[in-house]
């Protein structure tokens, strides 16, 4: 007869032992399989997971089990926020969590951690990706240049005729953006002076949704580097205008 207080013992790679409720532990399909096909009283070894990581993972599983079972009064929005805070960890821990979620087969955690890493890397340049994952660049210089040229549009943050509203940018993307030497860049905003870094910080906030037209549109100026551009604020609405020289 299944009892809600059945406990399962888990031993990690660094020999720490955790005793957890069965309902929490079987969030991991791997543990569930081992438990159901082995001896219920024995200790389950989770070889590739360290104590610290398992501890965090068990927090996650417990929170989600309790929320689903109604033991904790938590709305879907609050759970979503809890998850968002859960993944606010250093990069190494995040990658450790992915490996562990994969090995323990906890689908929702794998989804959460992979999405977090995806959001973290999406704005990076290829060189930074290589550093993050310690990847050897096996392209010849010509081959890499050819691929870059073919897909140039995916690299340019700015460029062409049109307007852009800045949304999510990685912190240093703005300063590295490529402007066509034939383009003019004109930033239209309201009245104060702000450094580029602040713009990207503000742009990372999702709550920019109040739009108003600036009172005095600045006239287009030519600058070689976007960093040097002095802009107005109020930024509640930021436009990058490009006019290509014909």
């Amino acid at each position: 007869m299944g009892s809600t207080s059945t406990k399962i013992k888990l031993r990690t790679s660094d020999q720490k032992v955790f005793e957890v409720e069965k309902a929490v532990a079987v969030q991991s399909q791997t543990i569930k399989y081992i438990y159901e096909n082995g001896c219920p009283d024995s200790v389950i070894h989770v070889h590739s997971v360290s104590g610290d990581i398992l501890s965090k993972i068990l927090d996650y599983c417990k929170k989600h089990v309790n929320s689903a079972a109604g033991k904790e009064d938590i709305s879907p929005e609050e759970l979503y926020e809890w998850d968002a805070n859960f993944v606010k960890v250093d990069q190494n821990t995040l990658f450790d969590l992915i490996l562990a979620a994969n090995c323990l087969k906890i689908e929702s955690l794998l989804d959460l951690t992979c999405q977090t890493v995806a959001n973290m890397i999406k704005g990076k340049r290829p060189e930074e990706i290589r550093t993050t994952f310690n990847i050897k660049n096996d392209y010849t210089i010509e081959a890499e240049e050819a691929v870059r040229r073919e897909n140039k549009w995916a690299f340019d943050m700015l460029g062409g005729v049109g307007t852009m509203v800045i949304e999510e940018l990685a912190d240093d993307t703005m300063s590295k953006c490529v402007t066509n030497t034939k383009s003019r860049v004109c930033v239209i905003a309201a009245n104060q002076i702000v450094m580029m870094r602040s713009i990207s910080k503000l742009a990372n906030k999702k709550s920019i949704d109040v739009y108003k037209q600036p009172q005095n549109p600045t006239t287009p100026r030519i600058k070689e580097s976007v960093k040097q551009r002095n802009v107005g604020t109020g930024f509640i609405e930021l436009f990058f205008h490009f006019k290509c020289k014909m």
Partner: protein
């Protein structure tokens, strides 16, 4: 102490194709294209058709793909350039100049793939292509039954990666000049083969069929018509059916000018304008889910938008009211749509959710979307045709 070299978790993930794919699946298409430069191994993974299909499917939301942007083309101008109207985030889209041809007409956009006709220097059709603008992959179509001189020939595309990784090309061609007798050919990419003349049918001149204007939705390819009836093809069963078109409103004796035919969230929409000195009315019809009839969803007066956005100047040019390029996109509430319109150089939309006019895309104070071409004296003489663009890494 362990003498072995410690490999970081990040590196372990990088070396694990399955785990790496899990992360890459969750990246936007643009980032994936950028990361083709990381290494040859990444290039191989990102270009792998199976991965690309998984990635494309991952973008789906409750059974539908949502467009990243609208591409606006000026009617009758055959350059490979277009204006981009962002719907989700800013999108740069490479112009169609990688298809080396003198001129190009977009025929149809369908869930990430475009079908275009290429024109030679004399503006004669020299070929048909399908392409994915995100990856710049394109392929010339070859037909078993080629177009006959002076006979009508229409090419459409049926593609929904959320339902099937394969696409179909549907050709409607007239068998004899001015006969109004058509044959329907279907190409299936799955078998790389054609079925010629699966159906033979006749329309009447009064039917006013517009086979050049096709909308694929719910697994069916629908054609626009300016008459009382139209046709659609159930692509799976390959059978042709009739559907009604909205009847002219009783008492409305004005001549119809345009029928903007489109779809959003699996629903067909038709927006109709009428001929008048200054006409700012847009009658938006929605098709019933059983295809039995259209109902008038709303009579929009685009002039109302001028009250919300005083900088718009509509109706200043006789018979060219200053709006065109009507398109239908999804809104936050799934059941409702937004009508997106090019008006006097800006893009506005009417949200059926709250019955409000909103600015969808403003290039900035004093700037208007509408490249000044020599052929036009006034911005409002240009008519825009909108095509939905889905940023997708799909490989065909």
């Amino acid at each position: 102490m362990n003498p072995k070299l410690m490999i970081s978790s990040a590196e372990k993930i990088g070396n694990n194709q399955d785990l790496l794919a899990q992360i890459l699946l969750r990246l936007p298409a643009k980032s994936l294209i950028k990361f083709k430069c990381v290494s040859k191994q990444w290039l191989s993974l990102i270009s792998n058709p199976q991965f690309c299909l998984s990635h494309t499917r991952h973008q789906g939301d409750e059974g539908f793909l949502h467009p990243t942007a609208l591409l606006l083309k000026v009617q009758y101008i055959v350059s490979p350039e277009f204006d981009v109207v962002p719907l989700k985030h800013f999108s740069q889209v490479p112009f169609f100049d990688y298809i080396s041809t003198s001129g190009l007409n977009i025929l149809q956009s369908c869930n990430g793939l475009f079908v275009c006709e290429a024109l030679d220097d004399d503006l004669n059709v020299s070929g048909y292509f399908i392409c994915n603008p995100t990856t710049k992959q394109f392929k010339k179509l070859s037909f078993l039954q080629n177009p006959i001189k002076d006979c009508e020939f229409y090419v459409s595309l049926a593609f929904d990666p959320l339902q099937s990784p394969h696409y179909k090309i549907i050709v409607v061609r007239e068998v004899l000049e001015n006969s109004f007798i058509f044959e329907l050919d279907i190409y299936a990419s799955e078998s790389d083969s054609w079925k010629i003349a699966t159906t033979i049918f006749e329309t009447k001149e009064e039917a006013c069929m517009a086979f050049e204007d096709a909308v694929f939705c719910n697994g069916k390819l629908h054609w626009n018509s300016y008459g009382n009836q139209s046709l659609y093809l159930d692509v799976e069963k390959e059978c042709l059916q009739m559907m009604p078109m909205p009847t002219k409103l009783r008492g409305n004796h004005r001549l119809e000018i345009y029928r903007y035919f489109g779809e959003s969230g699996g629903r067909l929409y038709l927006a109709v304008t009428y001929h008048a000195f200054i006409d700012l009315d847009l009658y938006v019809h929605q098709m019933a889910s059983d295809y039995s009839h259209w109902f008038l969803k709303h009579r929009l007066n685009v002039g109302d938008a001028m009250k919300v956005f005083p900088e718009l100047n509509l109706g200043c040019h006789p018979f060219k009211s200053g709006f065109s390029g009507v398109s239908f996109v999804g809104s936050e509430r799934k059941e409702e749509a937004k009508v997106v319109i090019w008006t006097d150089g800006k893009i506005i939309c009417y949200d059926f959710n709250d019955g409000a006019w909103k600015m969808m895309h403003d290039p900035g104070p004093g700037l208007k979307i509408g490249t000044p071409f020599e052929d036009f004296n006034h911005l409002h003489e240009q008519r825009f045709i909108p095509y939905k663009y889905f940023e997708s890494v799909y490989v065909f």
